[in-house]
């Protein structure tokens, strides 16, 4: 291997690593707030890339129907809960509007937009809104009724959600793979190495999002409320922070981050309906590197995973995934040596 190849692989690894970092942070965020280990994180990635691809092709993206389906199920569920708990109809109505207004509106706009060749940036924004709107619905339907269950139970629910969303992805998007056009179709020659515009976009957007998250959690009341929920659910509830809203917000953010990641890797990866899973899992390896608790460590882990990914695909491409996923073992070993053992009940 000469230095040029090394530089190419390095760039490639950092580009992928940035995307894994986003996913890793979303996973840490959701786990901290809701104790849900978000296996379906990768599905948001796939949905977003596929939605944009469909819009590019001038077709109605399956996400429209998916959002409407989930909104419909949420409607039924809220009505059912409303009748069972005999709460006021106005409360039920408000909940339904809160949960379903955005997804239905986003689906409607996307439906109308799908026939026209809107500019790429506008389609990307539409994709972001639509996929983000799905996040809270997923939380409402699958997790909210079990909000106080054990981490283990929630993890198994996550597996169920993953299955469901992958299956729905197949139903609504079909089994074909797509690529989306790059957002900045240009190249820069730096010495012998060519840097694509897309790589720069990826790095800049990732950095901006990390900055945004940091500002959100340290400077805004909503962010502080989420952190409070993460630290002590009961205490936060007693202080008037709604854990339900916290959960929905966390899922909206996770869906948004996933969607963003989907847009960023769409141009370099051919995406199929279940293609998000492996990408999401690499985000996981990163999140575990941070002990599912530390954002900066998750970012470091993600960059390592990205580099491992690109270098192992060069040396031993058949074993690429073996290498990336067994890398988790030394990471766990490291954590088990550094983490002070603590009792997990309470």
């Amino acid at each position: 291997m000469d230095s040029t190849i090394a530089a190419v692989l390095l760039l490639d690894g950092i580009g992928n690593g940035a995307v894994y970092a986003l996913l890793g942070m979303a996973i840490v965020l959701v786990f901290a707030v809701t104790r849900v280990i978000l296996i379906p994180q990768g599905e948001f990635v796939a949905y977003s890339a596929l939605t944009l691809a469909m819009l590019q092709l001038g077709r109605v993206p399956g996400t429209v129907w998916l959002a409407l389906l989930l909104a419909g199920l949420t409607l039924v569920r809220e009505l059912w809960d409303g009748m069972r708990t005999k709460r006021a109809w106005s409360v039920t109505g408000l909940e339904i509007v809160r949960l379903c207004a955005l997804p239905v509106a986003a689906a409607a706009v996307t439906y109308l937009a799908s026939g026209h060749a809107w500019p790429l940036a506008l389609q990307a924004v539409l994709t972001l809104v639509l996929v983000t709107a799905i996040g809270p619905l997923v939380y409402r339907l699958a997790y909210q009724p079990l909000a106080d269950a054990s981490v283990l139970l929630l993890l198994i629910v996550s597996v169920g959600v993953h299955f469901t969303l992958v299956g729905l992805g197949l139903v609504f998007f079909g089994a074909e793979g797509y690529r989306t056009p790059p957002f900045w179709d240009t190249h820069f020659d730096v010495g012998a190495v060519t840097i694509s515009g897309q790589t720069i976009v990826t790095l800049v957007v990732s950095a901006l999002l990390m900055l945004g998250l940091w500002l959100f959690f340290s400077r805004t009341l909503a962010g502080k409320a989420l952190r409070a929920t993460a630290i002590n659910r009961l205490g936060a509830r007693l202080m008037g922070v709604s854990t339900e809203h916290a959960g929905r917000s966390a899922f909206a953010m996770a869906a948004f981050i996933g969607a963003l990641a989907g847009l960023l890797i769409g141009p370099t990866t051919t995406m199929i309906y279940d293609g998000g899973f492996l990408i999401g899992l690499k985000g996981f390896v990163a999140a575990i590197f941070g002990g599912l608790a530390s954002y900066p460590l998750a970012v470091v882990g993600a960059l390592l995973v990205g580099l491992l990914d690109s270098f192992s695909s060069f040396w031993a491409s058949a074993y690429k995934d073996v290498i990336v996923f067994t890398a988790i073992i030394p990471i766990l070993l490291l954590r088990s040596l550094t983490d002070r053992h603590h009792d997990e009940d309470e």
């Binding site: 469901t164 299956g167 996981f284």
Partner: protein, 602 residues
């Protein structure tokens, strides 16, 4: 108090339930002789194979609270091991079984060693990764045939009879599965089984009872892996070929799904879950394409949704809907009464210094929670540790029992320095304790909870328990638990699930559990809280009697009457510092103590 008046206690050797279970087994084994269509025999073969794996998950996830998505990879390990040695070297399938078992043992021990030290959710994530890695590895290795796998695996032969057909394999599969279930039932109702059931409630209490929790986590993981590997061996010789796809992550998740659907934690649930999933899978494959016009993983949607719904509606699984309606079969606990007593450690001579705390110090960052506290406890005396809330009493307990490390100073127990040792090691020296916040396993009976204390005095291991060769040992342990329950006046509640007890009774149960460890020193954290006056007096009598037998007690208590009448000496702490020490009369009159409690200036 020895007589139990519980009407639900049944002691008949053959209940209708047992008869029904046996009839079911006989029917199951007679099935291939009846004119059952081949299709259903095949279905049942697969259900038996799946149930084996799920049984392992019942132990691992349902009982020990550890989740694994990687069981399919262990199935693959067993299948590929035997496939390789039988096709490449023409070895006997039985040698293949041995290779599979050994290989699984090694891999399971490595994975367990790396991940089980960490808190709960790392294990499932690690097993996802290891399941994926295993799948891609096997699919890329030349000598294992890459993604095409290995063909031409010989059938299992018993003597000269080869199990070539689905009907003949049926017997092997189901005998193994049923024996596996029986062994698991035996295990759950035994000393090592109780230790594994105690893992779910965290490790603090179990360690304080001298139970090596990590060891039992590893054991549960290895047993589950071996069940899976055994299923893989059967699978390879039943299918006569292997390829990586049945051992991927997807299948690993499906096994967990079966366990959850059937009722994770219930042995019967393994069979219900495996059956329901296998049959539903087939039916879905039949009618989903007709309904939706597509085939393939659309059934995943249905699977996923059913899984979520089952967890939301009945988190205990389908089989629990049945078991909940069955009468609870309870054994009369007084049958343990005449058990041969357990060996007792030599108690310290009266007046010997049992516990010596010297300048014990604990700092949390800048906060000094315990500030150079020194005191002794001698054999045959009750020492009270009192002080206002937040004085550092419970921290002091945790320092003495090894739950927290000391920042400075030392603690000696019967002449041995014990600070820096684990709480388990200290428990094994003969110091026992109760907790300020009761720590118990709510779904275990009171008797079983108390028997956890006797764990370190027994010896029966997993293998003996599974083969039911542990009954003599078991009888002595439960006999000890029964004796201590009687002593504390709770014999009538022995069969009750511990979760049903009132708080005061739970505290008494903790004392009985601590007594089962055969302690020379007993540390009680607020034993009288939540007790009524009569119960307090009875407790006081029991504690006095223990002192009379030469036991030493150190107790934290807020009930001043209780402390003043019972103790020989009192140590008073405030803001982590020892205020004074002396007989109850002296302490009562001490102006500094009065100031600490009543806020008078001094």
């Amino acid at each position: 108090m020895t007589k139990t008046s519980d009407p639900a206690v049944k002691n008949t050797p053959l209940s209708p339930l047992t008869i029904a279970a046996w009839l079911g087994v006989v029917l199951l084994l007679a099935l291939p002789l009846l004119p059952v269509p081949e299709f259903w025999i095949t279905q049942l073969d697969y259900i038996g194979l799946y149930a084996m794996v799920v049984l392992g998950l019942v132990l691992l996830t349902g009982v020990a609270g550890l989740t694994s998505f990687g069981q399919a990879a262990f199935v693959g390990l067993g299948a590929y091991a035997t496939a390789y040695v039988t096709t490449a070297y023409g070895a006997s399938p039985w040698l293949g079984l041995l290779c599979g078992v050994l290989l699984t043992l090694v891999v399971a021990l490595v994975v367990a060693g790396v991940t089980l030290r960490m808190s709960g959710h790392y294990l499932p994530l690690a097993t996802i990764a290891w399941g994926l890695a295993m799948f891609f590895l096997v699919g890329n290795l030349d000598f294992l045939g890459k993604f095409d796998g290995l063909q031409g695996i010989p059938p299992v032969a018993v003597g000269s009879f080869e199990l070539r057909t689905g009907r003949s394999s049926y017997y092997l599969i189901w005998i193994v599965a049923l024996l596996g279930a029986l062994a698991l039932r035996h295990l759950l109702d035994s000393r090592p089984g109780r230790a594994m059931r105690a893992l779910k409630g965290g490790t603090l209490m179990a360690e304080a009872m001298g139970i090596a929790t990590l060891r039992y986590k590893v054991l549960a993981f290895v047993i589950a892996a071996l069940y899976a590997s055994l299923s893989g061996w059967l699978f390879a010789h039943y299918q006569r070929s292997v390829n990586p796809s049945p051992f991927g992550l997807q299948m690993g998740i499906e096994y967990l799904f079966m366990a959850v659907l059937g009722g994770v934690g219930l042995v019967g649930g393994a069979f219900v879950g495996a059956g329901a999933v296998k049959i539903a899978e087939d039916q879905l494959q039949n009618w989903l394409p007709a309904l939706l016009g597509t085939s393939g993983p659309v059934e995943l949607v249905v699977f996923g949704m059913v899984l979520i719904l089952v967890l939301q509606v009945t988190p205990q699984g389908l089989w629990s809907l049945v078991t909940r309606r069955l009468p609870v079969r309870r054994q009369d606990p007084s049958r343990w009464a005449g058990a041969e007593p357990l060996p007792k450690a030599t108690p310290p001579a009266r007046g010997e210094t049992v516990l010596s705390v010297q300048k014990a110090r604990k700092q949390f960052g800048g906060l000094v929670a315990v500030n150079d506290v020194s005191f002794d406890v001698r054999a045959g005396e009750i020492v009270g540790l009192i002080g206002p809330n937040g004085a550092g009493k419970s921290t002091l307990f945790n320092l003495i029992t090894g739950v927290l490390p000391l920042t400075g100073g030392r603690v000696d127990y019967r002449g041995q320095r014990i600070d820096g040792r684990t709480s388990r090691a200290i428990a094994r020296l003969g110091m026992s304790r109760t907790f300020q916040h009761v720590r118990m396993i709510p779904d275990m009976s009171v008797l079983e909870n108390v028997a956890l204390g006797a764990h370190k005095r027994g010896a029966a291991g997993v293998l003996r328990a599974m083969l039911r060769l542990d009954r003599r040992d078991e009888r002595r342990l439960l006999g000890e638990a029964w004796k201590q329950l009687q002593r504390i006046g709770m014999a009538a509640l022995a069969n009750e699930p511990a979760g049903n007890l009132a708080l005061g009774q739970q505290r008494l149960m903790e004392i009985a559990r601590a007594l089962c460890t055969d302690p020379a020193l007993l540390l009680l954290d607020e034993p009288a809280a939540g007790l009524r006056l009569k119960e307090k007096q009875a407790l006081g009598a029991v504690l006095s009697q223990l002192r009379g037998e030469g036991m030493s007690l150190l107790l934290v208590e807020h009930d001043m009457d209780f402390v003043m009448t019972l103790t020989d000496r009192i140590v008073v702490v405030e803001f982590g510092t020892k205020l004074t020490e002396g007989s109850p009369e002296v302490v009562r009159e001490d102006p500094a103590v009065r100031a600490a409690y009543l806020g008078v200036e001094h």
